[in-house]
């Protein structure tokens, strides 16, 4: 049975709206007008145990709302969801002890005057972690997240990267079986980002945890996730292997051609020129036309090098986000 099952999940809410004029402001005092925002609409997917799934989409697509519904913070307006067999928004104690949600924008909640070690001890008591398990988990987390120098420091004095490491340690101390990671590498430098990615992959490998990860950094998704779910404006656009995302969503291939210096072909007669530099060109060609165009290029031009590639994931996603053709 899949760890996470989502069926027709929807959430919408009313946002107050009014015109910009002073008279409208007065009118809104008496009669408020609302607009219905459909944050998530009819979302359905399943995630098996031990999977790391990338949950991607542009700003306002409904990613965080979905994570909040699956972690029990938000109540949907429609549909069903099951996480580890629990209905998340009932917020049963046994459910909350099995999940963690970590937000890159706010990795640690609660008292900030405590030291990291104090906070970990309190987490042990709240989640009823035995002393043996606490010591074992703490030493593993300390090693993997390089927490040693942070343990005696107050939470409020930590940098963003340090907060994220401490936040992960606090959330993973009780070994949750499902992790919801919302932009875990937000604002981190290259080193901290690398460490975070390695850590997430190791945690999943060691514990068999299921992870649903949102990130605007495609490198996070490419490094960690074999499967992705792409949503836009609250609705599903793609759900499947990362490797076929470009193929599915982009009807184009990228042809990179290098010719002898002397040649000066009219590149636009072969396809849409994406990039041109001296005797090298990148052409965007419709998938079905790729074999024919490749044959023409080889027949008509002094080709030195030629490669056929899927467009980079980053640019496919960028175009989807912009609502352009892919």
């Amino acid at each position: 049975m899949p760890t996470i099952i989502v069926k027709d999940l929807s959430i919408s809410y009313k946002a107050p709206v009014r015109e910009a004029r002073l008279s409208s402001a007065f009118v809104s005092l008496i009669r408020r007008q609302y607009r219905e925002i459909k944050a998530v609409q009819g979302l359905s997917f399943e995630i098996d145990a031990g999977e790391i799934v990338g949950f991607i989409g542009p700003n306002g697509a409904g990613k965080t709302s979905t994570l909040k519904m699956l972690s029990g913070i938000l109540h949907p307006t429609g549909g069903e969801a099951s996480v580890l067999g629990f209905v998340p928004w009932r917020r049963e104690r046994s459910f909350l002890k099995e999940i963690a949600m970590i937000r890159g924008s706010q990795p640690i909640g609660g008292p900030v005057e405590l030291t990291v070690l104090d906070a970990l001890h309190f987490q042990q008591l709240i989640y009823e972690v035995s002393d043996d398990a606490f010591q074992k988990n703490l030493s593993e987390l300390t090693e993997m997240l390089e927490l040693g120098p942070l343990l005696r420091r107050q939470v409020r004095a930590l940098s963003l990267g340090e907060r994220m490491r401490a936040g992960l340690a606090l959330s993973l101390l009780y070994r949750p079986r499902v992790l919801f990671l919302d932009e875990p590498t937000l604002g981190l430098d290259v080193t901290a980002t690398g460490m975070m990615r390695r850590f997430i992959a190791n945690y999943c490998l060691q514990t068999g945890a299921t992870i649903l990860l949102t990130s605007h950094y495609m490198a996070d998704v490419e490094t960690l996730c074999k499967k992705v779910i792409l949503i836009d404006k609250g609705s599903m656009r793609y759900n499947g292997p990362l490797i076929t995302l470009s193929t599915t969503l982009s009807p184009y291939k990228l042809l990179k051609v290098t010719v002898f210096d002397q040649a000066s072909p009219v590149w636009s007669s072969y396809g849409e020129v994406v990039e041109l530099e001296d005797n090298k060109v990148s052409l965007r060609i419709h998938r079905e036309q790729t074999p024919a165009v490749t044959a023409r290029l080889l027949a008509e031009l002094p080709v030195v090098d030629l490669s056929v590639e899927d467009p980079p994931l980053e640019s496919v996603i960028d175009q989807i986000y912009k609502g352009e053709r892919v």
Partner: protein, 259 residues
């Protein structure tokens, strides 16, 4: 038992947290002492030679520090800045964390306020000797009243703080509540000194039972103590039910529109 253990954890955690705000705590304590000390000064001038007034305001000062509540900050701000989400993810009722914060703050208020209490006691030369047996009885009877007042004041402030689910201005709502408690709770004037026309109102409303009532008992007004306990229990029931209702409605709203 499990909830009590969680509450103990929360108190300890928040005690450590508040300890990190020493300077801020001192200003909070001083701020809490202003109203009783002002009342003491005004009424000592108005009723010179009264032995009950200094004892009443001294007791009120202690009650004020023992029942202090800042839920408009601890809860409402958490809702505004999104940290309530963290609390909702914890496998414990959200109110446990708030109670822990409240009790820890009260313990520290009493601890830091102790020198002020001693100094005021020395300056006003309160003498309990002539009424010692009555005083001891008064203090013993005041203890349950203080405990009930502590619960009542927490529930009152918590209820006002829950307005944060519906408004961005919960501090204004709570500030209005605090003003009512000052005017009608026995700080501005002891309820027995209220004009005859509005005294029944003061005796009926919940504010007296948050502040003035325990202080009245401790200063020797031992009439109708049981009736006062009864009022306290009734108001606790009313505010507890209102808080449960408001929490559920507010949480439904929060879970519907997000934090």
């Amino acid at each position: 038992m499990h909830l009590l253990r969680l509450l103990a954890v929360s108190i300890k955690r928040q005690f450590l947290e508040w300890m990190g705000w020493r300077a801020f705590l001192i200003t909070l304590v001083v701020n809490q002492t202003v109203a009783p000390l002002l009342g003491l000064a005004v009424w000592s001038v108005a009723l010179p030679g009264s032995t009950q007034i200094p004892t009443y305001y001294m007791a009120l000062l202690i009650v004020q520090l023992m029942t202090v509540s800042y839920e408009q900050h601890t809860f409402s701000n958490g809702l505004y800045d999104g940290t309530l989400s963290h609390e909702l993810l914890k496998p414990q009722p959200v109110v446990i964390g708030l109670l822990g914060t409240n009790i820890a703050a009260r313990l520290l208020h009493v601890l830091i306020g102790l020198p002020i209490i001693l100094i005021v006691g020395a300056i006003t030369s309160i003498s309990f000797a002539p009424v010692a047996p009555r005083f001891i009885v008064g203090v013993l009877l005041a203890i349950p009243a203080v405990l009930l007042a502590a619960i009542l004041r927490f529930l009152f402030m918590y209820l006002l703080a829950l307005s944060a689910f519906w408004t961005e201005r919960a501090h204004g709502v709570a500030g209005f509540g605090e003003t009512l408690a000052f005017l009608l709770g026995g700080s501005a004037a002891p309820i027995p000194l209220f004009p005859q026309s509005i005294r029944p109102l003061g005796e009926l409303l919940p504010f007296r039972y948050m502040l003035g009532f325990p202080a009245e008992i401790a200063s020797g007004s031992l009439n109708e103590v049981l009736q006062g306990y009864g009022y306290q229990v009734c108001w606790i029931g009313v505010f507890a039910l209102a808080a449960i209702f408001a929490w559920r409605a507010g949480l439904r709203r929060f879970m519907a529109v997000g934090g």
